[in-house]
Symmetry: C2
Subunit: 178 residues, 2 copies
């Protein structure tokens, strides 16, 4: 919630600026408009010899549940660089990314989740500070009931489907609030 | 540039918060961390009977140059909804989107450009407030030397390439500052 102007520190009001169609937080003093936009979460389905790398979360939300390595994209990096960075930070694994695999819109929380297909460069991995443990799972051992987020479930479902055919596509889907 | 806290209005400092790896604007008083992340620009390659819809920009940057209808994704919408909205706002055209076509990382300006393939529902269009004019171009009449942005050029090159084969893929590429 933006209550003060980040440029001059005065009060901001939530109003539709002239010529705009959306309400924004606008400074009452200097007129600065604070735009807020959806965030990209970038991650990776990383494989080693047919097994998939998952992390058990050491942080909220969904502490203790399993997830694909992923996190908010940072300024100055590409989506692929972000996916590689997050896989290194959360799972201690070095991956080569082959291409974008799934894009999942989660509009009710203003997020777009983008997962790459990745190959681990070596079988080495270790939990980062945000992970309790990291493990390689055979496709028939994925902990479906203990996954952290619906976007992770969707992405893994699509991934195992494509693994079965050997043809990897690019999958776009939406998750709604209901 | 964030100089004041948007939550309490006190001074913010640019520093690496404990446990983080990136510098952030952190409030000196209440400790609020202001995260800044890349923005998604969503747009559409809209076709009508083999011709492609372009808008001539009525705003800076690149006033007077031709572009695909596109703009910043808004909170609460999906990427496809954003592409449809921008095509309506800038070109007065109603489109059905078939799927994501190109994702272009422009890391030096903290943007990701995502273009959909779209089909116009009717041949009707009209310039919105941000466009001087809107026109349908045959592939051999694209104004290559008067395009507004490199991402538009890249997207149209890929699109015409796929039009020639009749097989539309999903294209990922990066644009660097040089």
């Amino acid at each position: 919630m933006i209550q003060f102007c980040q440029r001059c520190g005065a009060r901001a009001t939530f109003t539709i600026p002239p010529g705009d169609t959306f309400p924004r937080h606008v400074c009452e003093t200097c007129g600065h408009i604070h735009y807020e936009n959806p965030r990209l979460v970038v991650g990776c389905v990383a494989e080693w010899e047919g097994r998939i790398l998952l992390c058990r979360r050491a942080i909220e939300p969904r502490h203790g549940f399993w997830t694909l390595p992923a996190g908010f994209m940072e300024n100055g990096e590409t989506t692929a660089q972000g996916a590689i960075r997050e896989t290194h930070e959360e799972a201690g694994a070095d991956v080569l990314v082959d291409g974008p695999f799934a894009m999942i819109n989660v509009a009710h929380i203003n997020q777009v989740h983008l997962f790459y297909r990745g190959r681990m460069r070596s079988p080495h991995f270790s939990p980062g500070i945000e992970s309790l443990e990291v493990c390689l799972f055979h496709p028939d051992q994925i902990p479906w009931h203990d996954l952290a987020f619906r976007s992770v479930t969707l992405c893994l479902e699509r991934y195992l489907g494509d693994m079965a055919t050997g043809i990897f596509g690019f999958h776009e889907t939406n998750i709604s609030a209901a």
